[in-house]
């Protein structure tokens, strides 16, 4: 059987080499196509490698002796790595293909080569992260990922907001890396080795373990955008080129999840409160994310906030699993982890799909404002269909994949509700309705996006003469939509994969004989989904048959008696969300400018409503500003007066002498 690592490394090399053609090629268009081809080849190699790794029993690892003083590096593809390799390779290949249509090299001769290069580097580093088993290799790959992503998102646009978003992303990202320094140093202290230990190698009872957990939470939490560490995420996703946003939201922030899963998998007998922390963080991130999303009218910012929401859902799954394993309920551990991991895959697919769709729409309308789109379904039917698929999937609605993963997490929660001594830990019981609320809000939000952007009549001239995206942009969307539908209709197909991964993470699980099939009848879900499709088909046939036999007229939309409705009379995204935004205004702090209409012939006035980055603009920036002002007192010490500088020397001297004097005394 061919070695998974060999395939994966081949994938890395192919992906990394994808940056070169465009730099050297005389014909940019061809160079870009070659790059895309390389990415696709890398994906084929990598995905087959991942599947091979999932298929085989024992984990293969390579040891590389390199010339740095931290011992030989080690790479390996265990089931967890393999599971994350799937989205990394798939999404990056899709991005590369999408870029051909979205960021054509011949139209962007200056930026396209850099963008392609950094995407290639980004892909390679992402893959390296999940197969790295050595602290230094991991950190190196991690930093390369952060930095190359920074360049990928900034080389495209030179506008100020792009640069600011990039700076914010970079600074916050670097803080995350520093937290990881602490994480790995502490881990070294615990294992006295720079290699990542196997699953369940460390007892989680020591204070050191707690420190490691906190460091991991900070470092990986920043990357995955847990509230309140998410401040970098919305602007970064919104201002990056759409395919970069896709890979960021689909894969990059998942590295935080990967790290989290990897980190907790190292421990045995995990304290209950770890799970509670993750669950709470999940609920908060989910709610805050979706609530902020509803307030947005920039389509990409909105999608970015939904990434925060979905990260929250994933964390809820992890929390359930930790709580389960610490309470000795293997079923919860299984369902929680499986749900979280599956949701990671699912979110990778449908969120990238949505960002691609948003990209095509922006490409067509030249704006990110939903309120300036409208009526696109007529002009870009395929994009609309794919976007609709993504929207239904991200709302967690059957029969698509989003439902399956959320369903698993729900099962975990409910299992906890009826099994656990619930009054002492009522967290499950509170989490289930919270997840339901998140789902409901997400639904409201995506009906808004799809309805306002694609339905109704065009709200601006640009959207009126918008055009369908090219094949290079449609193909990736088609693939991803197919994946969404596939996982949604036949979830039992992915169950074995998940089970392998979960077992590899929790060796104790196999002993208890808990199986996914035993606790989640995914088969029935797929039956119901198929029945649903059947019913839709049947009703449609019936309806078509009926329409064919009765007169069909076309008229204007019923305007309640008003005969000349215009596009500007349609309901806007802001008005659609108004009630909900009002409900949560305590959190959102929306800036609304309501004009005062007076007189019998009021002048033309305009109404404005905008939801700011409340946490960033309302909390962090003021706080730092305050600190900075306090610090300016210290800055006075460097006043430029020489004789006082000399005084510093004297004081230091005398202070040291006195100190040493007393040290010797005592």
């Amino acid at each position: 059987m061919i070695s998974p690592i060999l395939l994966t490394v081949t994938g890395i090399l192919l992906a990394a080499s994808a940056g070169i053609p465009l730099l050297v090629a005389g014909n940019p268009a061809k160079g870009q196509k070659i790059a895309a081809t390389l990415h696709v080849l890398a994906a084929t190699a990598g995905v087959s490698g991942a599947l091979a790794a999932l298929a085989r029993k024992e984990v293969e690892t390579w040891s590389i002796d390199w010339g740095i003083p931290f011992g030989p590096a080690e790479i390996g593809v265990d089931p967890l790595s393999a599971l994350f390799l799937l989205p990394i390779f798939t999404i990056s290949a899709c991005c590369a293909v999408y870029a051909v249509g979205y960021w054509p090299a011949e139209q962007n001769p200056e930026s396209a080569p850099k963008l392609t290069l950094f995407l290639a580097v980004l892909t390679a580093s992402l893959v390296t992260i999940v197969i790295a088993r050595h602290a230094v290799l991991f950190l190196a790959a991690w930093e390369v990922m952060t930095v190359s992503c920074y360049f990928a998102m900034t080389v495209g646009g030179r506008r100020k907001e792009v640069r600011d978003a990039g700076t914010l992303y970079l600074v916050v990202g670097h803080l995350g890396v520093l937290a990881l320094f602490a994480f790995f140093s502490l881990l070294k202290g615990a294992t006295s080795s720079w290699l990542l230990p196997g699953a369940g190698a460390l007892p989680a009872t020591s204070p050191a373990a707690t420190a490691i957990f906190i460091a991991a939470l900070a470092g990986f939490g920043i990357k995955s955008g847990i509230v309140p560490l998410h401040i970098w995420l919305p602007s970064a996703h919104a201002n990056a080129p759409s395919h970069v946003s896709a890979i960021m939201s689909g894969v990059l922030i998942k590295m935080g999840i990967y790290g989290m899963v990897r980190a907790v998998s190292l421990f045995t007998d995990i304290p209950f409160w770890w799970g509670v922390v993750l669950l709470a963080a999940g609920i908060v991130s989910g709610l805050v994310g979706v609530v902020f999303a509803i307030g947005q009218h920039d389509i990409k910012r909105l999608l970015a906030y939904h990434s925060i929401e979905n990260i929250g859902i994933i964390l809820m799954g992890l929390g359930v699993s930790l709580m389960g394993s610490s309470r000795g309920m293997p079923a919860l551990a299984l369902l929680g982890t499986a749900g979280a991991l599956l949701h990671t895959l699912n979110h990778a697919t449908f969120k990238s799909l949505l960002f691609f769709g948003a990209g095509s729409v922006i490409h067509a309308c030249g704006t990110r404002e939903i309120d300036r789109m409208g009526g696109l379904l007529r002009r870009m039917p395929l994009t609309a269909a794919f976007f609709l698929t993504g929207a239904v999937a991200i709302c967690g609605l059957p029969p698509l994949n989003g439902f399956v993963s959320e369903w698993l997490i729900y099962l975990g929660l409910f299992r906890g509700i009826i099994d656990a001594d619930t009054f002492n830990d009522p967290y499950f019981a509170l989490a289930a309705p919270a997840l339901a609320l998140i789902g409901g809000l997400a639904l409201a939000c995506f009906v808004k996006v799809f309805g306002i952007a694609f339905l109704g009549t065009p709200r601006s001239d640009r959207s009126a003469e918008s055009h369908e995206a090219g094949p290079a942009m449609l193909a990736p969307m088609g693939v991803l939509a197919a994946v969404c539908a596939g996982i949604g209709l036949f979830p039992q197909a992915v169950a074995p994969l998940l089970e392998t991964v979960v077992r590899s993470l929790d060796p104790g699980l196999a002993a208890t004989g808990t199986t996914l099939a035993g606790h989640a009848s995914l088969g029935m879900v797929s039956v119901v989904s198929l029945v649903l499709l059947l019913l839709v088909g049947a009703t449609t046939l019936l309806y078509r048959h009926r329409l064919a036999r009765s007169p069909v007229g076309v008229a204007q939309t019923w305007g309640c008696g008003y005969l000349a409705p215009t596009a500007r009379m349609q309901y806007t995204a802001s008005s659609f969300a108004a009630t909900l935004v009002g409900l949560f205004s305590g959190l959102l702090r929306p800036h609304t400018k309501t004009p005062l209409i007076q007189g019998h012939f009021p002048k033309q006035v305009s109404f404005r409503s905008h939801v700011p980055e409340a946490l960033l603009e309302g909390f962090y920036l003021p706080l730092f500003g305050l600190l900075n002002n306090r610090l300016s007192l210290v800055r006075r010490l460097q006043h430029g007066r020489l004789h006082l500088y000399i005084l510093y020397i004297v004081v230091t001297l005398i202070a040291l002498l006195a100190w040493s004097h007393f040290r010797i005394r005592s």
Partner: protein, 477 residues
């Protein structure tokens, strides 16, 4: 051969002095630098025996610093040719003399085993640098030079007094009075503790002024800010390391005398002070050369902490001496390019470097990542070694504090530098017509590549040197 190592630069200085032609004179520097580098490599290849009755020995620590200094100087020398080609209007005789003199003094410092000789060498570097800081000959540079001169001279004096105390400690202990390292180490335990302690303190303050530990760093931003870029590079990458050489020698004696605790604590204290100061002043720092100065203060403090907390942190600290010096070279040289092109080093007058000077821009960007300890640069390895060493020794609080300070400093540097690099250039900005040229871009590029290389592969000989140095400084003790 070692004699040649020191004589060569002096000859170079002489040659520079004799060369009448302002245009051809700078060519002396690369020659000196190149030969010096070759000599250094030869010396590293096979170590020469002690000379001058043990006054001159090339021990691992000396090798390390010598290598760093030599590489840095070679790059700066090549750079200077390209740089001075832009400064034709100004006589470069002093510069072309001062640089080799400084190199000679630094080489001497690396090989001298006699503390007195070491002191002489280090202080000659101070003197040799003074006129170079004054290269620009304007009010600001004279002010900077004056402050540098007076404060460092007081540092010199303090160090001298410290040496006297050390010598007197031998006298009081009725031992053969000497300042040779070997005998001192041998008889350290017998020395009078009071005088020894005084010696440590005065030497620490003296050399601390030299390397710019807060609050003795006050001259640093001024000097680094006003000196030409390559002088700044040598100050931050060369002289600082010579100062640390002095600190390490005292450290050795402490270890031998078995009275390390106070010295270590003092180092740690000053180290944290320095990092704290740097963190405060890096935020909202509009002058990017002063920014680099504070970054240097930060790293000096970081290394002081490394030495001070000792044990597990020592190997990383030793390695950081090397990596930090090289990175500083990249930063100052590229910063000089930017300064030259925009005729300003204020953030508000400099934007869009990536467009105007793509090479310098990218180098500066990468150097920013390197100096803040981002993988895969060697600085990451050294910083991570120190940090993990701290954690391994159970100094979690120190480690976390350092990490927080790093965070603040990166934020400050990024907030000042990224707009400079990626911002949009405008017609309101001054343009001296300077553009990237091979001679002004290749040296920093080379330095960056070395840093990168060391980040992913450390040659076996170098590792031996590092380990030996760490052993000298009592790793694990």
């Amino acid at each position: 051969m070692i004699a040649l190592l020191i004589a060569l630069p002096l000859l170079g200085a002489l040659a520079a002095w004799l060369t009448p032609d302002n245009r051809r004179r700078p060519l002396v520097l690369p020659v000196v630098g190149g030969v010096h580098l070759l000599l250094t490599l030869a010396l590293l290849a096979e170590t020469p025996p002690p000379a001058l009755g043990g006054w001159i020995i090339l021990d691992p620590l000396g090798k390390l610093v010598l290598l760093e200094v030599s590489i840095l100087f070679f790059c700066c020398a090549i750079y200077s040719v390209g740089y001075l080609a832009y400064r034709r209007e100004r006589s470069n005789r002093v510069l072309c003399m001062g640089l080799p003199l400084c190199l000679g003094a630094m080489s001497l410092a690396c090989v001298s085993q006699h503390l007195g000789l070491l002191w002489v060498a280090i202080e000659s570097t101070t003197l040799a640098m003074a006129p170079l800081i004054y290269f620009n000959r304007n009010a600001r540079s004279i002010e900077a030079t004056w402050k540098y001169m007076l404060i460092c001279s007081i540092g010199i004096a303090m160090a001298l007094l410290g040496l006297y105390f050390l010598a007197y400690a031998t006298v009081v202990a009725r031992q053969e009075p000497t300042l040779l390292l070997a005998p001192l180490l041998a008889q350290a335990r017998g020395l009078s503790p009071a005088w020894l302690n005084g010696a440590f303190i005065f030497l620490l303050v003296g050399f601390g002024t030299k390397i710019g530990l807060a609050p003795l760093h006050t001259w640093k931003p001024d000097a680094y800010g006003e000196a030409p870029g390559l002088v700044g590079a040598l100050l931050a990458g060369g002289l600082v390391n010579c100062g640390f050489l002095g600190i390490c020698r005292i450290y050795q004696i402490c270890l031998a005398a078995g009275t390390t605790t106070f010295f270590r604590d003092a180092l740690t204290l000053l180290g944290f002070l320095s990092m704290g100061f740097a963190a405060v002043f890096v935020l909202r720092q509009a002058d990017f050369k002063r920014l680099l100065a504070y970054s240097s203060v930060e790293h000096v403090g970081f290394m002081a902490i490394g030495f001070g907390l000792g044990r597990g942190a020592i190997p990383g600290t030793v390695f950081h001496l090397l990596t930090n010096g090289l990175t500083k070279g990249v930063l100052f040289l590229t910063a000089a390019n930017i300064h030259r092109s925009y005729n300003s080093k204020r953030a508000e007058r400099v934007r869009g470097v990536m467009d105007r000077l793509p090479w310098s821009g990218w180098l500066f960007m990468l150097a920013l990542f390197a100096v803040t300890g981002s993988p895969p640069f060697a600085t990451f390895l050294s910083e991570f070694m120190i940090l993990s060493g701290l954690f391994a020794d159970g100094r979690e609080i120190a480690g976390v504090t350092v990490i927080l300070l790093f965070a603040v400093i990166f934020t400050g540097m990024a907030l000042t530098i990224l707009p400079i690099l990626t911002g949009r250039g405008g017609s309101d900005l001054d343009d001296s017509g300077y553009r990237d040229r091979l001679l002004t871009v290749a040296p920093p590029l080379a330095l960056l590549l070395v840093t990168l290389l060391l980040g992913i592969w450390i040659p076996a000989p170098l590792r031996e040197i590092l380990d030996a140095t760490a052993a000298m400084l009592g790793v694990g003790s």
